[in-house]
């Protein structure tokens, strides 16, 4: 059925690059790959509907973080960060243009290669300089919300990224704007300026680093960095990222990280010095975070993660101190998270990812958090994503209140998402989120990356 429909919509094949960082094939030049389906404009709307009921999958497709379906098991091929995320390399830009976004016409064999430049190819900086940026807005719909069920956030993210490389040395980071609101912690951990209610200058990462080893498989960086832990997914509000405090939205920490990338193994260990964009010092978490991932073949990878931190005062947990009869931050909080994760692409159109972490915190029962996701990409650039979540962060050992979902009892959550990379460096995404004990929420976002 699917193939027939594609034929009717003048679907044609296109040669696209295949990736494998370990083979050192980082040239932006396109390489031959298996055929891919492309789609003309008129058939798009009908096809989007049809795919929701199609039970078969096509032989070819492409993805995002799930680039393992193209044998991109390592991240440093396309990203400046050896563990993935944000700033793209020149190779990453070309790859994104050729296999990430929707293709509306057949690419001729002698066609000019996409530009690796910024601003949709307007300017190509020198090789030593990587530049990029990201803009996201967000619409939130909560039908059960009192008053207006619709909220629009014009600038959920507005960041510029850069990295300058001088020989074996590199320095880089991000700078942008973000809205801080009392009662919301999103973005606040990355604030540079101190406005507690309004727009702020934010910097999610900034670092200097050095490549180590003859083959430059090792990299040492210091600064504010993404924490190496689990699956580096874009869903920053997924429970696995929130419960382990390892999202890419603003959970970065200052510290020192040593990364390693080879053909069959990659990993990163970070010594966490604390987030120096939060004060007082008592609220800073210190410890380590790490992951180690093994790669089997070209379509399967799995690994382990571990994180241990201590803070004199916890940022979010609150307790009643009976001696002073006051509400205070939980003190002397030792947090641990240890888990496993995996990625598997049984077909190019399908990627499955999973992560399970055990959670430990002083004064609380042991807990867990789990995440599973199936990404189905029937045509290039269009993803249907099914996500399941489960968590029980454990309740206080001295708690006198009944257990509740997520605190003593399991809490379930599910997402259904459509992610459409509709043009060069442009993405639209819609998520329907249903979580136990939380209102039904729909999110819609437009994402432009420079």
């Amino acid at each position: 059925m699917f193939q027939a429909m594609n034929t009717n919509r003048r679907v044609r094949e296109i040669a696209l690059p295949q990736g494998d960082a370990a083979r050192g094939e980082h040239s932006p030049r396109g390489r031959s790959g298996r055929g891919r389906v492309i789609l003309s404009w008129p058939g798009l709307a009908l096809l989007m509907f049809a795919f929701t009921v199609v039970s078969t999958w096509s032989g070819e497709a492409s993805a995002y973080t799930w680039m393992i379906r193209h044998s991109y098991s390592a991240c440093s091929t396309c990203h400046a960060d050896p563990s993935g995320g944000e700033l793209l390399t020149q190779y990453g830009r070309v790859t994104a243009d050729m296999i990430l976004r929707m293709q509306y016409a057949k690419r001729k064999p002698d066609a000019k290669e996409p530009s690796p430049g910024v601003l949709w190819g307007l300017w190509t900086p020198p090789d030593a300089l990587l530049l990029g940026g990201s803009y996201r807005n967000l619409s939130v719909i909560r039908p059960s919300q009192a008053g207006s069920p619709y909220t629009f956030i014009p600038v959920m993210q507005g960041d510029l990224y850069g990295q300058l490389r001088l020989g074996i040395f590199r320095m880089g980071g991000s700078v942008g704007i973000g809205r801080s609101r009392p009662g919301s912690t999103n973005g606040r951990l990355a604030q540079v300026t101190t406005n507690q209610d309004g727009y702020n200058l934010v910097s999610r990462s900034h670092y200097i680093g050095v490549d180590l080893g003859k083959e430059k498989k090792w990299m040492l960086r210091g600064g504010r960095l993404n924490q190496p832990f689990g699956l580096r997914i874009p869903e920053h509000n997924a429970w696995v990222r929130e419960a382990t405090r390892t999202d890419r939205e603003s959970d970065q920490q200052h510290g020192l990280a040593l990364s390693y990338v080879s053909e069959k193994l990659r990993g990163e260990f970070m010594a966490i010095a604390g987030n120096y964009q939060v004060g007082p010092d008592a609220f800073r978490e210190r410890g380590y975070s790490m992951f180690l991932e093994g790669i089997a073949g070209t379509s399967f990878a799995s690994g382990v993660s571990s994180k241990v931190t201590y803070a004199e005062y916890d940022l979010y947990e609150r307790t009643i101190n009976e001696s002073t009869n006051s509400i205070e931050p939980e003190s002397d909080t030792l947090r641990q998270a240890h888990g496993i994760f995996g990625r598997w692409a049984p077909a190019k159109s399908l990627v499955m990812m999973a992560e399970v972490d055990a959670l430990f915190r002083v004064n609380a029962d042991a807990g867990y958090v789990a995440f599973g996701q199936v990404d189905y990409e029937p045509v290039v650039g269009l993803h249907f994503i099914l996500t399941g979540e489960l968590q029980d962060q454990g309740r206080y050992v001295t708690s006198t209140t009944p257990a509740e979902p997520g605190r003593g009892n399991p809490q379930f959550g599910g997402w259904l998402s459509v992610d459409w990379f509709f043009f060069k460096q442009m993405e639209m995404r819609v998520d329907a989120m249903l979580r136990q004990d939380e209102p039904f929420t729909m999110l819609a976002q437009l994402h432009l990356y420079l």
Binding site: G183, L212, L220, W239, Y276, Q277, V278, G406
Partner: protein
């Protein structure tokens, strides 16, 4: 003694202030959940005060009367429950009046105690219900995180600068890289 967790990272979007005010410990609704923020903004204060500046209980539920001396004074000046305007008017008639109130009858007015202008180092406020005659009373604000680089050293007390240790290690790594690069050039 620690009691049950009051908020979770999974509900970060509600924030801890809202959580403290609206639903900690899955308790019944609080007496006047917006009042701490109103006091903070009206005085103004550099932090959000604990409920105990007015109540005996750290989490007063709906219907519980505020009986601290500071609250009694405000009630005498028109404060009623669940009415932000009445609280603002009462604060203006007492704390912010031309002859500012001083319910504990020490040497500091309530306004001075709440805005912390005379608070000792490392403390943002003193308690307007407790006399400071024999020494500064306790801070009425629970510790709160502040965000932004300017918040980096708001607490002057000594602490371990682990970042300096890590910077030292980074400098060592960079130095090692430079040394090896120079050695490679010499050998070639």
């Amino acid at each position: 003694m620690l009691y049950p967790a009051l908020s979770a990272r999974s509900s970060r979007s509600t924030g801890f202030l809202l959580a403290v005010a609206l639903g900690l410990l899955a308790s019944p609704s609080l007496a006047s959940p917006t009042y701490p923020t109103v006091v903070k903004n009206t005085v103004p204060m550099s932090c959000t005060p604990d409920c105990t500046i007015c109540h005996q209980e750290p989490q007063p539920t709906s219907g519980v009367t505020a009986t601290q001396p500071f609250a009694i004074q405000l009630r005498e000046n028109g404060l009623v429950a669940l009415d932000d305007d009445s609280l603002i008017a009462a604060l203006q008639a007492t704390v912010l009046s031309a002859t500012p109130s001083n319910v504990d009858q020490d040497m500091y007015s309530d306004a001075v105690e709440l805005n912390g202008s005379m608070a000792p180092q490392g403390q943002l406020t003193t308690n307007p219900n407790v006399s400071d005659a024999s020494g500064p009373s306790a801070n009425v604000c629970p510790p709160e995180p502040l965000y932004g680089c300017g918040a980096a050293h708001v607490t002057p007390r000594p602490h371990v600068h682990t970042e300096l240790i890590l910077l030292g290690l980074l400098a060592f790594g960079v130095g090692l890289g430079i040394w090896r690069r120079a050695a490679q050039r010499r050998s070639s």
